[in-house]
C-alpha cells in the first residue's frame, strides 16, 4: 500500500512526472524561441509559472457556473494524467507490474484529462469556454479512433498481447516497431494524435488564444489553473514516453541506456515542437477530415502491410 502511494506520489508519479514534464515544457518553449531567432525563457520558467499560479494568485470561482465541477475537473485531470503516467513508466523502469489489458486502461486514462477540461469548461458558464469545449469534443471524436487503431496495429505487430510488459518484451527480441515500413506508417498518425492530445498548434483550436481567448481555460485562475498546467506538464512526459514504449523499444533506466531513453523522449518532443512551429492552426472541420480520411487511411495501409508481414 505504502509502495503504491510512493509510486503514485513521488516516483514515477506526481513529483517526478511534474518536474520532468516541466523540463520538457521548457524545452518546447526554448526550441520554439530558437526557431523564431529569440532567446527564450530561462530553465526554471515552467516551475515559476506553476508556483506563481499556486501560491501567489487569487482563485476566482464563476458566479453563474457549477462550482463543484469547476473545482473538481482540474484535480481529476491531474489524477488521470498521473495514473496513466505511472502505468506507462513502471513497466519501462523495470518494476514488474501491470496486468493483462493494461494497454486498454492506459488508453482510456489518457483521455481523462481532455474530458475533464471539457467538463470544467462547460461548468464555468462562459460562452467562449463552451465553444472551446465543443471543439475539444469534436477533436477527441476525430483523433480517438485513429489513436485506438494505432495501438491496435502495434498490438497486432508484436504478438497480440494487450499487456505493456509483453509489448516491450516482443520489441526487445524482435526489434523496435519503428524499424519497419508498417511501423513508420503507424508512427506518423501516432505523432499527430499526440499533437492533438497535447493541444499543440495545428490542433489547438480548443484553446485558440487569438480567437476564443484560451477557450476551455478562460475562466480558470490561481490554484485551478496551476493544476491544469501541472496536468499538461505530466502529459508532456507521459505521451512521448507512451510513444517510445509503443514504437521505440521503451525506455531503460540503467547505464548508457539512460542517455538513449532521454534522447528518445527529447527527440519526440523536438518533432512535436517543430510540427507546432511550422504549421498554422487548422479549423475544426479540417482537423476532422485530416484524421478521419488521411490518418485512418495511413493506418489501414499499415494494417495491410502488417498482414503481409512487411
Amino acid at each position: 500500500m505504502l509502495k503504491d502511494l510512493f509510486y503514485f506520489l513521488v516516483y514515477p508519479g506526481l513529483l517526478f512526472a511534474g518536474v520532468a514534464g516541466g523540463f520538457l515544457s521548457w524545452f518546447d518553449r526554448k526550441i520554439t524561441a530558437m526557431v523564431q531567432f529569440r532567446k527564450g525563457p530561462p530553465l526554471l520558467q515552467p516551475y515559476y509559472d506553476f508556483l506563481k499560479l499556486l501560491l501567489v494568485k487569487e482563485t476566482i470561482l464563476p458566479e453563474n457556473g457549477s462550482r463543484g465541477m469547476f473545482l473538481l475537473a482540474p484535480i481529476l485531470a491531474v489524477f488521470g494524467a498521473t495514473v496513466a503516467c505511472v502505468l506507462i513508466l513502471l513497466p519501462m523502469f523495470g518494476f514488474h507490474t501491470g496486468f493483462s489489458g493494461d494497454l486498454i486502461v492506459i488508453f482510456y486514462l489518457l483521455s481523462i484529462p481532455s474530458l475533464m477540461y471539457i467538463l470544467g469548461a462547460l461548468s464555468s458558464g462562459n460562452p467562449l469556454a463552451a465553444m472551446g469545449a465543443s471543439r475539444e469534443i469534436k477533436l477527441i471524436l476525430s483523433y480517438d479512433l485513429t489513436f485506438l487503431l494505432v495501438v491496435a496495429g502495434v498490438i497486432l505487430k508484436s504478438g497480440m498481447s494487450i499487456k505493456m510488459t509483453d509489448l516491450l518484451m516482443a520489441q526487445e527480441t524482435g526489434g523496435a516497431v519503428i524499424g519497419s515500413v508498417s511501423g513508420i506508417l503507424l508512427f506518423i498518425p501516432a505523432v499527430f494524435c499526440i499533437q492533438a492530445k497535447l493541444g499543440l498548434v495545428p490542433f489547438d483550436m480548443a484553446e485558440a488564444e487569438t480567437e476564443i481567448n484560451h477557450g476551455c481555460f478562460i475562466e480558470y485562475s490561481g490554484i485551478c489553473y496551476a493544476l491544469i498546467k501541472l496536468s499538461k506538464y505530466i502529459l508532456f512526459l507521459t505521451l512521448p514516453a507512451f510513444l517510445a514504449a509503443l514504437f521505440m523499444n521503451g525506455l531503460h533506466w540503467d547505464g548508457i541506456h539512460i542517455l538513449w531513453s532521454v534522447l528518445k523522449i527529447l527527440g519526440v518532443v523536438l518533432l512535436l515542437t517543430l510540427i507546432r512551429n511550422t504549421n498554422p492552426r487548422l479549423k475544426i472541420h479540417q482537423a476532422m477530415k485530416f484524421f478521419f480520411l488521411y490518418m485512418n487511411l495511413l493506418v489501414i495501409i499499415a494494417f495491410i502491410l502488417i498482414a503481409l508481414g512487411i
Partner: protein, 144 residues
C-alpha cells in the same frame, strides 16, 4: 513572503487592454514580443484571458464607454495585479484630455503602478518601464 514576491516577479503574464487608441501603442507593445526585443526571456507572456493576467497594460485615451469595461476588467482580474499605463493618452489623456467623451486618465479610474509616457513609447521604453516596475516592487519590499 520574499519567495512569493520572487516567483511573482519571475513570471509576469501580460494582458493588453487598448482603449480608444490610435493603435500605435498597441503595435509597439506587440513589438516587445518579437524576436528583436523578446520579453519572454524575462518570463513574460501575452495571455488572452484576464483571469490569467498579472499585469494589465492599458493604452489609449479612456472614454466613457471604455471606462465601464476597464473597471469591469479590473474587477474580474485575480489579485495581485499590476497596472501599467502606456503612452501619452494612457498617462495623461494626451491630445484627447479636453474632449467631451474623455473619462479621465487611467490613474483616476484604477490604481496605476507604472507610467510609460511617449507617443508612442519605443519598445525599449516599454521594457525599461517594466524593469523599473519590477525594481520598484523589490525596493518596496526592502523598505517594508
Amino acid at each position: 513572503m520574499a519567495f512569493k514576491d520572487f516567483i511573482f516577479r519571475k513570471s509576469l503574464w501580460l494582458f493588453h487592454f487598448g482603449g480608444a487608441s490610435c493603435n500605435n501603442c498597441d503595435i509597439e507593445i506587440l513589438d516587445c514580443l518579437t524576436p528583436r526585443y523578446d520579453v519572454e526571456r524575462f518570463g513574460m507572456l501575452l495571455v488572452g484571458s484576464i483571469r490569467h493576467a498579472d499585469v494589465l497594460l492599458v493604452n489609449g485615451s479612456i472614454n466613457q464607454k471604455d471606462k465601464v469595461r476597464l473597471l469591469e476588467l479590473y474587477r474580474q482580474a485575480p489579485k495581485p495585479i499590476l497596472v501599467v499605463a502606456i503612452g501619452a493618452c494612457g498617462c495623461t489623456g494626451g491630445i484627447f484630455a479636453g474632449g467631451y467623451p474623455f473619462a479621465g486618465p487611467v490613474d483616476q479610474i484604477i490604481p496605476v503602478d507604472a507610467y510609460i509616457p511617449g507617443c508612442p513609447p519605443k519598445p525599449e521604453a516599454i521594457i525599461s518601464g517594466i524593469v523599473q516596475l519590477i525594481e520598484k516592487k523589490k525596493t518596496e519590499k526592502a523598505h517594508a
